[in-house]
């Protein structure tokens, strides 16, 4: 049983079941939309977790990459007539390139210095999006043309699907594939090298690991995750504002990583779920909504210091042993 749970593919398998069964218990498309938001956030958080939880490098600017993906999906079709799906690919490739160029100099920095440098990057992206209103629509945001999948399904197969359902399945499939790719990476020479860098850079170097290159690789990979999530959100929402690239969104992504559990792929999904769903639940408390959200986050971190999933795992293991 425990061997089964520890298998590399256990997490993608659990997610397949979760994504497949959840619609059966969700009462309306409103909830389906929230679940979709969870899957999209979780996708970005998995990427960020590879950087933070495995390689031990912080980024307070990942919403910048998220924004690049989102605005690529919005702007390229509108301004240049690029088909939506290509716009998504271009957004991901651009994100990778920018991560590579930005990462080379700043990944030499450590700890708080790296945090501030990535923060600066995120602010820069948000500023460009805000200021170049003639392309991006500026602070008011911009409408995003749909991919036309619904039309395609109808004309090709005579299938009629609701937008909410369609995006639930697209985001769910993305999440499963994203988790699968992440566990693949973790369980590979690259993954071991990243975890080694996290624990002792000097020992990693002496073992022959090109530490600078490893950090760059995982930074680029995590940037691509963020960009794809950004594109998905833009296409799903049909509208996007500069907030998606903003500082608060970067912080939210980091919070999801830490809350769910650093170095836990499943934790990434749980962290995203908590921070997307909890505010919705807490709206019934009106004025106290934010107060309660803050309190709950503090309680989680105090009692499950390693994050929700690793924390619960340790609790269960402790029970089993006792």
């Amino acid at each position: 049983m425990s061997a089964l749970l520890n298998h590399r593919l256990a997490v993608p398998a659990v997610l397949i079941v979760l994504v497949a069964l959840l619609p059966l218990v969700l009462p309306s498309s409103f909830y389906l939309r929230i679940a979709t938001l969870v899957w999209i956030s979780a996708f970005a958080v998995i990427g960020l977790n590879l950087l933070m939880g495995y390689a031990g490098q912080v980024s307070l600017g990942h919403a910048g990459f998220f924004g690049i993906g989102a605005y690529a999906a919005a702007v390229l079709p509108a301004q240049l007539g690029v088909p939506g799906i290509f716009a998504v690919v271009i957004g991901a490739v651009a994100s990778a390139l920018i991560a590579y160029l930005v990462g080379r100099p700043i990944l030499r920095l450590k700890g708080h210095y790296l945090a501030v440098a990535t923060l600066g990057f995120g602010i820069l992206v948000a500023m460009v999006i805000n200021n170049e209103a003639w392309i991006t629509g500026g602070p008011d945001g911009i409408a995003v043309a749909s991919l036309g999948i619904k039309k395609l399904l109808k004309s090709a197969f005579g299938l009629k699907v609701k937008t909410a359902e369609l995006w639930y399945w697209i985001a769910g499939a993305m999440l499963v594939v994203g988790a699968w790719v992440a566990v693949n990476l973790v369980d590979s020479p690259t993954g071991r090298a990243l975890r080694a860098v996290h624990d002792s850079e000097i020992a990693a170097r002496v073992a022959g690991i090109d530490v600078a290159r490893m950090k760059l690789v995982v930074f680029v990979v995590s940037a691509v995750y963020a960009a794809l999530a950004g594109s998905a959100l833009a296409l799903f929402n049909g509208f996007i504002t500069p907030d998606t690239a903003g500082f608060l969104h970067s912080i939210e992504l980091v919070t999801m990583v830490v809350l769910g559990g650093m170095g836990s792929i499943l934790g990434s999904v749980v962290g995203a779920a908590v921070l997307v769903v909890l505010p919705q639940l807490l709206t019934m408390f009106h004025d106290y909504e934010h107060l309660l959200l803050g309190l709950l986050m503090m309680v989680f971190m105090i009692f499950l210091r390693a994050g929700i999933v690793p924390g619960l795992r340790a609790l269960v293991a402790g029970r089993g042993a006792a």
Binding site: T190, R195, A196, A203, I209
Partner: protein, 262 residues
Amino acid sequence: MSILSVEDLGIEFGGLKAVDNVSFAVEAGEVFSIIGPNGAGKTTLFNLISGVYTPKHGKVLLEGRDVTGVGPHLLARKGLSRTFQNLQIFFRMTALENVMVGCHRHERMNVFAHLLALPSVARQNEATRAAALTLLSRVGLAAYADTVAGSMPYGALKRLEIARALAADPKVLLLDEPAAGCNPVETEEIDALIHQIAADGVTVVLVEHDMKLVMRISDRLHVLDYGRTLAEGTAETVRRNPDVIAAYLGSHGSKEAARAFG
């Protein structure tokens, strides 16, 4: 040609000459020890040789080639490996994974293959795992394979570092106080292990405080004091060198000198 040599090597920290004009040559297959009182510059010398520090002057030659200023990860690929006096373990990884990281330089680093879990990656993982397990058994830690390093006892971690260094399949292995903090039984095990490593043809450069171990195991010794060379030669000649005895008397008191050289 010597397998490892240093020429006029030196580095300063804020005016303190931690290593000052040190030269020596290590021949392939020998156990070469570097001894000296605390603060003599032994660890700094290892840091210079392994590329962790860049020397202020002097050269490091590996198999006759100048490798001064070459980074540790490139030196690892050229066959130089080391352990650390203050443990540098990957504490959140299992013992087996620690040693698997040591195999890094033999692994193909194709990130796209890793992301997509191509069949070659599974084969690679299996090969690395098998090699790491063999090494763990060799240092007597097979029972700890799936134990997270952070919860292993100190003596075991000392041997885990050696196993990880061996995983790189080094030609030259630098061991910085491998028996420090170990009890007599563990020291005995480390002694046997170093013998075995040397017997396998790996050149060992050893820094160690346990003089009994050093005298027994070394082909030659190089003595440092205040960053400078004090003496070099076989255990017999070094043991009788008055400068060496004086240095140990000065910094450690007669008891340690007696224990070390008695």
